[in-house]
């Protein structure tokens, strides 16, 4: 009986909180822009802002499925390694004579497979947290990338491949269009389909979901495989932008991605959060970086800011909920 009361109460707080959090993100986003405008006169310029999106949107592809994973209450820290592995395999295949489109398809398949393996291990060994499983596969995937390419760089892709990272359709960057399409698709998947509702249900109470006939294992594997696929998409855009690849590419991406998801208001305990928050967070962090980069704030300072942002983003809701919980008990 008591559990039911607590749950319904939480849902009530939840809605109020959501409204606040997304609004807060919008406010922070505006603040960041105002700050940037004051920092540098070169900031407020349509063309440079548009081109700035091209530099930070590559990792945003992973943010979309990571929202699903974190709503499930899991985490995937192997994504950066999957990016590296897909990228390296694509480059290696192309350099050994495989046509580029085939190499790209295989790269996407490899990413999906990596994600699938993560999901399979997590589902088969439920007593292992996703942290430790993806920690191990994170080392393995990057290890394989090193085995394939050692310490060399591979590149010299066909010219059209550069379009992914550098091209425009009309006056809009290609990557921005692709990201918008994916963002809409993922938002629909999360908020408008049974699949999405089930993901929320599993994040709130996985046992109850299983007993209500949700195929929890299949959904979890699908979500992790989807994350692998999107990591491979990131690999395509990133490789295209850089023009070559190395086994140590994309190091630290997992932190950026997790920071954006958490900043977007997705609870680390699972079950709560919305896609729009994460998408807002992507642009917030991206423009913050771009603006601070304009005024030559060192990259290390950005590291500190991002780390603190991540901590603050998880701390602020705890402050509220912590108070609520105390009163309840």
């Amino acid at each position: 009986m008591e559990t039911r009361i607590v749950t319904s109460k939480k849902e009530f707080n939840l809605k109020a909180f959501f409204l606040q959090w997304e609004w807060m993100l919008v406010v922070i986003f505006l603040l960041v822009n105002v700050m940037n405008m004051n920092l540098s006169e070169f900031y407020w310029n349509y063309e440079s802002l548009r081109d700035a999106t091209m530099t930070f949107l590559d990792k945003a592809f992973i943010v979309l499925p990571m929202v699903f994973i974190m709503i499930l209450g899991d985490i995937d820290i192997s994504v950066a390694s999957i990016v590296a592995l897909s990228s390296v395999i694509m480059a290696d295949l192309y350099n050994s004579g495989v046509p580029m489109p085939v190499a790209m398809a295989i790269s996407l398949a490899v990413g999906t497979l990596c994600g699938f393996i993560n999901g399979l291990l997590i589902v088969k060994y439920k007593e292992l947290s996703s942290v430790i499983v993806t920690l191990a596969t994170m080392i393995i995937y990057r290890g394989i990338a090193y085995i394939i390419l050692e310490d060399q760089a591979a590149g010299s892709f066909p010219e059209w491949f550069g379009f992914l990272g550098w091209g425009y359709v009309g006056s809009i960057p290609f990557i921005l269009i692709v990201f918008t399409v994916f963002a809409v698709l993922f938002a629909l998947l999360l908020h408008k389909t049974t699949f999405g509702r089930r993901v929320y249900a599993m994040g709130n109470n996985i046992t109850a979901s299983r007993f209500s006939g949700v195929q929890v294992d299949k959904i979890k594997i699908a979500v992790f495989a989807l994350t692998g696929l999107m990591a491979a998409v990131t690999a395509l855009f990133l490789t295209s932008r850089m023009g070559s690849t190395r086994p140590n590419v994309a190091t630290g991406y997992e932190l950026d991605v997790i920071a954006m998801v958490v900043l977007g208001g997705i609870s680390t305990a699972g079950g709560r959060g919305r896609m729009i928050g994460a998408i807002l967070a992507v642009f917030l962090v991206g423009f913050l970086r771009y603006g601070l980069g304009l005024v030559n704030v060192p990259a290390q300072m950005l590291l500190i800011i991002l780390g603190l942002l991540l901590i603050l983003a998880v701390m602020i809701p705890k402050l509220k909920w912590g108070g609520g919980k105390l009163r309840k008990s």
Partner: protein, 335 residues
């Protein structure tokens, strides 16, 4: 059914009981195999080298075991190590007359502060350890670059007394080994024979019942991250003294090796279990792998993959063994 159950009980209980023995057996077999491929492996010099190189890893492993026992994880230790090593190195660079012991204290103090901050975030705000340590990892790493201005502190800027911390020896045994042994002795006593030590395990195996039985969970959590920070700080000074160089990216990714050593040593990621004897073997095994793979001409580019696979196998083995033990407990309860 009952028959099958009782058989499972014996097997898994057996494995769980003799886990360390199995690990030891594996180490012996591995050493012999390497020795056959390269006879210089089991020479006194190489063994001495190997143990010295493993000392820092094993010091960190103790702290990580305590953290993992409380169901946590600490990804920030590589950064804490770099920060405290850097500050200690800058201090001795500025004041070459500084007593080496004072340098060690400075580094340890920096590490303690890092750990206290982390413990505060985790215990007071209930932030998931992985998120908190991932965030602070970047903060500490960024701070390391900031305090050093992006520059290295290299060997010629350090006085001989400072470098002597890691190269010197007491009665023929390298200082690093002596420090590691002292730490292990202390923590063996701490986790097995003090009230607080036992409380760490209680919090890890069942936080709710620990709280009900009067244990201050927050205090214990805070304590383990503080210990972890302090040990990372100490390890930072030893690291910088040993390699005679402090850089912004010192020990980047080292936390993975430390976690690997814990997992190999049978520390359960689900919390509540882990033994000092286990993590000694885990560190030694990892040390042997790092030392032996180059000796038998395995390409350095394979090392990461091999290390990852070993971690995965160890984690899965732990899970399977624990399944058997749990089923065993359940059976005993239902009888």
């Amino acid at each position: 059914m009952a028959d099958y159950g009782s058989r499972t009980k014996t097997v898994s209980a057996y494995i769980a009981k003799f886990r360390e023995l199995g690990l030891l057996g594996f180490i012996v077999i591995l050493s012999l195999a390497v020795q056959i491929r390269n006879p210089s492996f089991l020479t006194w010099e190489n063994i001495n080298d190997m143990v010295t190189n493993t000392a820092i890893l094993s010091i960190l492993t103790v702290g990580m075991m305590l953290v993992i026992v409380t169901r946590g994880i600490d990804l920030s230790i590589g950064a804490t190590l770099a920060l405290s090593g850097m500050i200690a190195a800058l201090a001795v660079g500025e004041f070459p007359g500084l007593h080496p012991l004072l340098a060690v204290l400075i580094g340890t103090a920096v590490g303690l502060v890092c750990g206290i901050v982390l413990g505060f975030l985790i215990s007071r705000f209930g932030i998931l350890p992985i998120i908190a340590t991932l965030g602070m990892m970047n903060v500490f790493r960024g701070l390391t670059f900031m305090v050093s201005g992006g520059k290295w502190v290299s060997a010629h800027q350090m006085p001989a007394s400072f470098k002597g911390i890691a190269t010197g020896s007491i009665i023929g045994i390298n200082n690093l080994i002596v420090i590691a042994v002292l730490i292990y002795l202390f923590f063996y006593y701490f986790v097995n024979h003090t009230r607080t030590g036992r409380q760490i395990y209680a919090v890890g195996s069942n936080p709710e019942s620990a709280k009900i039985s009067g244990i201050n969970n927050d205090r214990i959590l805070w304590l383990v991250y503080t210990i972890m920070g302090g040990l990372s700080g100490l390890a930072g000074v030893l690291w910088v003294s040993k390699f005679a160089s402090a850089q912004g990216d010192t020990a980047a990714g080292y936390e993975l090796s430390v976690i690997a050593a814990c997992v190999l040593g049978g520390v359960s990621i689900a919390g509540g279990s882990g033994k000092i004897s286990g993590i000694i073997l885990g560190s030694v095994l990892l040390g042997i792998l790092n030392n032996a793979l180059p000796l038998i001409n395995v390409s350095p580019f394979w090392q990461m993959g091999i290390q990852g696979s070993i971690i995965l196998v160890a984690v899965l083995t732990n899970a399977i063994v624990k399944r058997g033990v749990d089923r065993n407990h359940l059976m005993r309860r239902s009888v």
